[in-house]
């Protein structure tokens, strides 16, 4: 296992752990206002200080991790859930009109700058975590569809698939039983990368006020709220910023590490 993989796994699980623990315990109630106690720098009682309403920043970061992970997870879920079957279908019916329709549809979605469309969707249907998830999720679909189709196409020409066809399996069964397990590695790696992009997108949307709405804490909105206070309370901007960096860096390292680790060619070379 590479150093990248270990570091990535450690950073990612740190964030995941914070999110999971926040369900049962946070140092303070993340939504409890304590205005006389506002804008405290990091100290023994408030490890990450307090914000302009006197809320505990550490608790908000923990719960904010939950928001980020939930949004990114569901968005990747949407991408995998729709994209992978579409990609498998397109590969199974390679060259047919169905393949064309699916892949040109993907091109269409790809052609739009994703964050701009996400802003459009949330502006039309109202700001909120659910709409942010849908907006980010839609743009994950073509990513997974393409990668699945590409990998599946090269498999369809292989002997073991031919053997399966000869034994009478239909295209759907072959896709599910033989193609899917063989592209899973790729999907896991891509999923990790998309997950980190999803976290960035969520932070971006909530930074412009289109993500999770208050009082649900969100790293992006914490950054936006801190903007005018950077000069006298820099921790308010630094801490959510660092949280985003750590998470995205961790997931990217994890993705890189997983790719190296799971890649059969490298595995053979190692052995």
């Amino acid at each position: 296992m590479s150093r990248n993989l270990i570091l990535g796994a450690v950073l990612s699980s740190l964030v995941l752990l914070a999110a999971v623990i926040s369900f049962v315990w946070t140092p303070y109630d993340h939504a409890a206002l304590n205005i006389p106690n506002k804008l405290q720098p990091p100290n023994a009682r408030h490890w990450f200080g307090t914000d302009h309403f006197g809320r505990d920043t550490f608790s908000m970061i923990m719960v904010g991790a939950r928001t980020s992970i939930a949004v990114a997870l569901v968005a990747v879920g949407i991408g995998v859930g729709f994209g992978v079957p579409l990609g498998l279908t397109a590969a199974a019916r390679q060259g047919s009109w169905l393949d064309e329709v699916i892949m040109r549809g993907n091109d269409l979605v790809f052609a739009f700058p994703s964050l701009v469309i996400a802003i459009l969707i949330t502006a039309v249907f109202g700001a909120g975590a659910i709409n942010a998830i849908i907006a980010i999720g839609i743009f994950n679909i073509p990513v997974f569809a393409r990668i699945t189709r590409g990998a599946a196409l090269s498999l369809w020409g292989r002997e073991f698939i031919l053997a399966a066809r000869v034994s009478g399996k239909g295209a759907a069964r072959i896709s599910a039983e033989h193609i899917l397990p063989n592209v899973a590695n790729l999907l896991i790696v891509q999923g990790t990368i998309q997950f980190s992009l999803g976290i960035l997108a969520e932070a971006g949307l909530s930074y412009v006020g289109l993500g999770a709405q208050p009082p649900t804490p969100s790293w992006g909105r914490m950054l936006a709220d801190a903007q005018t206070m950077v000069s006298f309370a820099p921790h308010l901007a630094l801490i959510p910023g660092l949280a985003i960096i750590v998470t995205v860096l961790g997931l990217n390292l994890l993705g890189d590490g997983l790719r190296d680790w799971l890649d059969p060619r490298i595995r053979v070379a190692r052995a």
Binding site: F53, Q213, S231
Partner: protein
């Protein structure tokens, strides 16, 4: 270089330097930043405050005008006489006043302007100001007689509003993009999305202003506002959007901070027709669930005066009714239980962009949650707010600052967006409008304040402070905002 030429060179250099120095001293231009850009420049056909900020007293003048201290003084009308019964106002106009297009301003123009505001199809945003007028007649070119249907103690005050300015009939078609008035400044250029420039009017009837040009720059983002001010890109910020940054300006010798009051009663507007807010016990519960001081400290960093009714504390007629709705969550919970909402209820809280609303809303939502009321926060832009809340009346709660001066009369309008329908309030305002005796007026105003406070029409939060930031050398800025205005005629640079 000979000695002679060197001397000439040095003295020429010195002369140049001194010339430059005098120019630097007599600085006659100014850049003033405001947060919102006006939609157009006709103050007589829209309620947008940003229009008045640019044009009031600078481009357009009325018969009377507001001064920075809120007093009403003669404007284009030099003097006036009021008949015994208080229904006939005879205005004597100033002589030799011309519009920026060169035409003379006379009684016909006054009649045109008032008739235009009175007309059936008038687009004026404050028609109530003119409601008392029965007829406007031209006695001679410099005398106008305004007859009221009944005495109105507010009439001279009403005529000072930006909505009652005198416009030029010839240029009325283009007023929105090329305003032509009688003021000390003429309209220069409007770069959409960026700035508006005004130039000194050499033919102004009054004293020439110290400034030659003034540029209004529009900076909506609080962070950008802070950066522009710190970088000295702008000389003045009319009303600084981020109160948390004021201590930094105060500590910096390059700047001065002017903390004053506005006419903005910041309230938790409640839809009085929407259940459960049609129940007075629920509205009273709201009032007791709110901790005003926490909102002022948390949202405005301490700037703002608590209010207990819809009236400006700096007005002599103000009655302090904050005790009527003191913070008492236990009482609030009991009132909710009495009204049948032991379990609380869910509602919406629409928040327009200013920080008093966005931050105040987060605080209020948290305070309401403590008594069991779940207020779903919906952040909206101003256009959306006007559409769905103000016009559509589709809201439960919203936070907004009512910045019009002396606007308690809105409580006599049952179709106004918070939909308070009270016969008592309507009769009271009617009596008030026909009362001219100042003491009696103050008494009636006090009664009105008590009535709406006891009916808990809205949650009364605080009087919005005016937070002006300017470079140290700027003089003559209005500290308070009796109306939305940036009076350029008074502004100058100290030597």
């Amino acid at each position: 270089m000979t000695k002679q030429t060197f001397r000439t060179f040095v003295s020429a250099l010195a002369m140049g330097a001194s010339l430059f120095a005098t120019q630097a001293l007599a600085k006659s231009d100014i850049t003033i930043a405001m947060q919102l850009e006006p939609p157009h420049l006709d103050p007589t056909s829209a309620a947008a405050q940003a229009i008045d900020s640019v044009v009031y007293t600078n481009i357009f003048e009325g018969l009377t005008r507001f001064m920075g201290d809120g007093s009403v003084v003669p404007g284009l009308a030099e003097s006036w006489e009021i008949s015994e019964d208080g229904t006939v106002y005879t205005f004597k106009l100033r002589e030799g006043v011309t519009f920026h297009d060169g035409t003379t301003m006379d009684a016909e123009d006054v009649k045109f302007s008032l008739d235009r505001a009175l007309a059936e199809d008038s687009a004026n945003a404050q028609k109530a100001l003119f409601a008392a007028i029965a007829s406007v007649e031209v006695a001679d070119p410099l005398t106008v007689t305004v007859t009221l249907s009944e005495p109105n103690g507010n009439f001279l005050f009403n005529m000072a509003w930006g909505d009652a300015v005198i416009v030029a009939p010839d240029s009325i078609d283009n007023i929105k993009t090329n305003p032509v008035g009688t003021g000390a400044f003429t309209f220069g250029e409007w770069v959409q999305g960026d700035s508006i420039t005004l130039n000194r009017n050499p033919d102004y009837w009054g004293d020439q202003p110290a400034l030659e040009t003034a540029t209004f720059k529009f900076i909506s983002d609080p962070t950008a506002a802070f950066a522009a001010m710190m970088a000295e890109d702008v000389d003045v910020f009319d009303n600084f959007p981020a109160p948390e940054n004021l201590p930094q300006f105060e500590a910096d010798p390059r700047f001065q901070v002017l903390v004053g009051s506005t006419e903005g009663e910041t309230i938790l507007s409640t839809n009085n027709k929407q259940p459960p807010f049609d129940d007075i016990r629920v509205r009273q519960a709201l009032a007791h669930a709110i901790d005003r001081q926490a909102i002022i400290d948390g949202a405005m960093f301490g700037y703002g005066t608590p209010i207990g009714t819809h009236f400006a504390p700096h007005n002599p007629a103000y009655v302090d009714l904050t005790g009527n709705s003191a913070y008492d969550p236990k009482k609030a919970a009991k009132l909710l239980a009495d009204a049948g909402y032991e379990e609380g209820f869910e509602t919406t809280l629409h928040l327009p962009p200013p920080s008093y609303a966005r931050r105040g809303g987060e605080i209020i939502a948290a305070q309401l949650a403590e008594v069991g009321i779940t207020a779903e926060i919906i952040n909206v832009e101003w256009a959306q707010w006007l559409e769905s809340v103000f016009k559509g009346k589709d809201f439960g709660l919203t936070i907004v600052s009512h910045t019009e001066p002396m606007d308690i009369g809105i409580y006599a309008r049952p179709d106004y967006y918070f939909q308070y329908d009270s016969l008592d309030a309507q009769t009271l305002i009617e009596t008030l409008n026909t009362t001219t005796d100042p003491e009696e007026r103050n008494r009636l105003l006090g009664e009105m304040q008590r009535l709406i406070a006891n009916d808990y029409v809205n949650g009364y939060l605080f009087q919005l402070a005016k937070l002006g930031v300017a470079k140290a050398g700027v003089q003559g800025l209005w500290k308070n905002a009796p109306t939305a205005a940036i009076d350029l005629t008074q502004i100058s640079w100290s030597e």
